[in-house]
């Protein structure tokens, strides 16, 4: 299987605090990888390291065979291939929903305005936000913002999409609409890495589930194994606590 990202011995410290310890991980093309674990286990940091929003302290990240930490490939260029969806949406406040989706393709990829608009409309329609293209972020609800944010990431036509707890900042009744969009994307064969607390989503959609604890990947297996027959004590304990709720 073609590997999109290969991570080897990734380590990240903030000051003296070691958040990620010797992480190694491959993400294959078309795979949906969900990362679960309690707060502070390093899952978000791992995702942010993949996108280089955080600089790994040591280790290697290889993208299609090229080391992105020491490479000719510029960080900006690499990031156009790695879409990111944030917990806090982070829509550009000075632009409309459509503007959010076209600014990247126009200013970064050098596409024409018409071409960018066409692509953006396709994805805004996919997330069900094509009616709101003239709205500003402050005029949208959380769920709507997150769907526009997904369309913005897709408009760059990335190789993989990283989701950093995309539903954690949403009101409960809006979680569904965002998860629905994410399921559609997963079925379409997009490579996705999702940090999430939505266990049902992970169980249903993921090809692989990683359980992280204290900066290490404790278990990496299919959702079936992780959720029904976890091998590690810590995984069992975490799932027991989470699923009880």
């Amino acid at each position: 299987m073609e590997k999109v990202i290969e991570i080897r011995h990734l380590q990240k410290s903030f000051g003296g605090n070691e958040v990620l310890k010797d992480i190694s991980l491959d993400v294959n093309k078309g795979e949906v990888v969900c990362i679960i674990g309690s707060s502070g286990s390093g899952k978000s940091t791992l995702l942010r390291c993949i996108n280089l929003l955080e600089d790994p302290t040591s280790g290697e990240i290889t993208y299609h065979g090229e080391n992105v930490l020491s490479s000719r490939l510029s960080r900006a260029e690499y990031r156009t291939k790695m879409g990111m969806v944030f917990q806090q949406f982070n829509l550009f406040n000075n632009l409309t929903a459509l503007g959010n989706c076209t600014v990247g393709p126009v200013k970064v990829l050098g596409r024409s305005k018409e071409q960018a608009t066409e692509t953006a409309m396709k994805f805004l329609e996919l997330v069900g936000m094509d009616k709101y293209i003239n709205a500003r972020p402050s005029q949208l609800s959380g769920g709507q913002k997150q769907r526009v944010a997904i369309a913005r990431a897709l408009s760059m036509e990335p190789d993989a999409l990283l989701f950093d707890e995309p539903t954690s900042a949403l009101d409960p009744e809006m979680v569904g609409e965002v998860l629905k969009v994410m399921k559609t994307l997963a079925k379409s064969g997009l490579t996705m890495v999702v940090v999430t607390h939505e266990m049902d989503f992970a169980r249903e959609v993921a090809n692989r589930v990683l359980f992280m604890d204290k900066g290490v990947i404790v278990e990496d297996d299919t959702p079936d194994v992780i959720f029904t027959n976890p091998k590690n004590e810590r995984t069992k304990e975490f799932l027991k606590r989470t699923l009880e709720k």
């Binding site: 900006a76 990111m84 094509d130 009616k131 003239n134 005029q139």
Partner: protein
């Protein structure tokens, strides 16, 4: 004869006589005041934008030693500029620059000197306003821009600065109003702005109170008008608080009214 007639004139007669006889002079003074404060604020804001942006360039350990040291030196120079010009009175800056240039054998046109001094002075204040504006933009906006492959420059141009400019507009307007008033100190280097002209009229007529009262009112009219205009501009920049639903031909475009932000 003239003196006795003058002594018999009341305050109101003096005031109207000054207005009638000296209005072209006073109006020209007001014109120079506006010219210097407008150009000074515009150039000062431009300086402030550039300095503010340069002072917020992020430096990371990955950057080359050359880039880091250049930025360090630049930062030091800019900080010195801001501290010196914010830490000394504009009236003193005016005299030092104007007479300093003359001392070096360079005789400046007084109006040009006025514009230069106000620009540099405003630039120092605006730099800090812009820097504060940039720092107040949510970190997530930078991260989102980086995540779609924007470099720092592209991020600043397309995402951050449009928001900063909107946010610092009230402070910029405030600087403009301050400049209208503070250009009066330029009379010390004989710039023919409104206060200088008022002083001239007062000296000719020996009627200090009516002359200064007239220019006081003129200053207030100018600042008040400018404040109102800026309020209107701010409101316009905020845009309408509703948006149109982008519909197909079968569903007519609807207008959604949104109050207070979210639906």
């Amino acid at each position: 004869m003239l003196l006795s007639a003058a002594a018999e004139m009341s305050f109101w007669e003096w005031t109207s006589s000054i207005v009638q006889n000296y209005w072209p002079l006073l109006l020209m003074g007001a014109g120079i005041t506006l010219l210097i404060s407008i150009t000074g604020t515009i150039i000062g804001s431009a300086i402030g934008l550039i300095v503010g942006v340069v002072r917020t360039i992020p430096v990371s350990a990955r950057d080359s030693a050359v880039k880091r040291s250049v930025l360090k030196i630049l930062n030091f120079i800019l900080t010195a500029y801001i501290e010196v010009f914010r830490g000394t009175p504009m009236i003193v800056q005016a005299t030092v620059i104007f007479y300093g240039a003359a001392f070096a054998g360079f005789y400046m046109d007084t109006t040009l000197a006025g514009i230069l001094i106000v620009s540099i002075n405003t630039g120092a204040y605006m730099s800090e306003i812009v820097r504060g504006g940039i720092l107040s933009v949510d970190k997530g906006q930078f991260e989102a821009a980086h995540s779609i492959g924007m470099t720092h420059i592209k991020t600043m141009l397309n995402i951050i600065m449009p928001q900063v400019i909107r946010n610092i507009l009230p402070a910029t307007g405030n600087e403009f109003v301050i400049n209208i008033k503070d250009t009066s100190v330029l009379n010390v280097i004989a710039v023919t702005e409104l206060f200088f002209q008022g002083k001239t009229v007062a000296g000719i007529t020996f009627q200090y109170f009516p002359a200064y009262l007239i220019i006081c009112i003129m200053y207030f009219i100018m600042t008040f008008t400018v404040t109102r205009i800026l309020k209107a501009v701010e409101k316009r920049m905020d845009g309408s608080d509703s948006y149109t639903i982008h519909g197909s031909q079968t569903t007519p475009e609807q207008e959604f009214k949104v109050k207070g932000g979210t639906l």
